[in-house]
């Protein structure tokens, strides 16, 4: 991992509102990220080098022969309500793509709809921000981007433990516990959304554990 941690993270922001694009761009640049903004999901996919008609074959994206995305994007932040392709549609397409699925995706919405939030999180979104987005929200993005530049060394150790024949049952139990806790957290989050808007971010934050491992996104994970 000779990667320089000082090199800028590149965020792709997707929003059909010109005001919100300006705002999110400023927020991201204030945090020293490189920013590209587009006004639709379709344009986002184009920028990422994925064409909609390639979805049928996710193993071989037709754009580049080496299976890597053409541009280096470390995070995608997208509005939910957009004409044509919604943020949710975009999220799904990204997660269905073998070349793009590892890019963390964050959803923004002006509406606090619990079922919408949980659906996005279940589909693989890392965070769900309520608009208007603030600097404190943007500050939550860094850990997600760090994950993509650095494979989690802890994950490696756990796998080694299993292989070496040390108490396997205990580490498996721990993983199961973690998953149960995670599911409970997700369930607990829903009633909290009934609170007034002043608690909206707190409610979301309580439900989200940035350290949770999601087997889908760790390429090294063995089957749990």
């Amino acid at each position: 991992m000779g990667m320089s941690m000082e090199s800028q993270f590149h965020v792709l922001a997707v929003d059909d509102s010109i005001i919100d694009r300006k705002l999110i761009e400023r927020l991201l640049k204030t945090s020293s990220y490189q920013v590209t903004t587009v006004d639709s999901g379709t344009k986002a996919l184009e920028f990422l080098g994925l064409h909609e008609d390639d979805q049928s074959n996710t193993e071989t994206p037709s754009v580049s022969p080496n299976n890597h995305q053409e541009v280096d994007v470390n995070l995608i932040i997208t509005d939910y309500c957009m004409p044509g392709m919604t943020g949710y549609d975009l999220l799904r397409k990204i997660k269905e793509s073998s070349s793009l699925r590892d890019i963390p995706v964050v959803i923004m919405s002006s509406e606090n709809v619990p079922s919408r939030i949980s659906r996005c999180l279940e589909e693989g979104a890392e965070e769900f921000f309520l608009k208007p987005v603030r600097l404190s929200d943007v500050n939550r993005l860094r850990p997600h981007m760090m994950k993509t530049k650095l494979k989690d060394p802890k994950q490696d150790n756990e796998e080694n433990k299993e292989e070496s024949g040390k108490p396997v049952s205990r580490s498996l139990e721990e993983k199961e516990e973690q998953q149960q806790q995670h599911q409970q957290q997700q369930l607990h989050r829903l009633p909290q959304q009934q609170h007034s808007n002043s608690n909206k971010r707190k409610a979301l934050e309580e439900g989200l554990s940035p350290d949770r491992t999601r087997p889908r996104y760790n390429g090294l994970t063995t089957v749990v």
């Binding site: 509102s17 005001i19 919100d20 705002l23 927020l27 002006s110 208007p132 600097l135």
Partner: protein, 150 residues
């Protein structure tokens, strides 16, 4: 120096009144915090975009509500956008009318919608006026050699 101090006071008092009267909310503060030496016109730029976008939306709304058969989903879509943009810049009173407006759309209540259209036009012109005054004072302050108090 007196002139500068006076303008600064004028600016602070005027801004305070906008918050007290509910024209602006905390989000406007957030915008101001994003402005700095490297982006000295950020607030004016965002607000200008808001003005342009709002005028477009008001035109669309008027057109949509003039139709013989009103497409309430279309009206609602425009109001939703307006609600979003006003919320993004902290134009609280405009946002509040938009919320009521969306309820009338959902009920397919023409009278209610027309009433809200008038209300939102009014609130929009009020906040536009207020913000233009705010920017004018800021300009005068800077021209007098002062800086905008943070």
């Amino acid at each position: 120096m007196d002139g500068v101090a006076q303008l600064q006071k004028q600016l602070v008092d005027f801004t305070d009144s906008l918050f007290q009267e509910g024209f602006l909310d905390e989000q406007f503060n957030q915008l101001q915090q994003l402005q700095d030496e490297s982006n000295p016109d950020f607030v004016v730029e965002v607000v200008s975009l808001f003005f342009e976008d709002s005028e477009r939306l008001l035109n669309e709304l008027a057109k949509a509500l003039e139709q013989k058969t009103i497409d309430f989903r279309k009206v609602d879509a425009h109001v939703h956008q307006f609600k979003g943009s006003s919320s993004s810049i902290g134009a609280q009173r405009v946002q509040k009318v938009c919320i009521a407006f969306r309820n009338y759309c959902e009920e397919q209540n023409i009278e209610g919608c027309l009433k809200c259209l008038q209300q939102v036009k009014l609130e929009y012109s009020l906040v536009k006026n207020k913000l233009e005054t705010l920017f004018k004072i800021e300009k005068q302050l800077i021209a007098a050699g002062g800086s905008i108090p943070t």
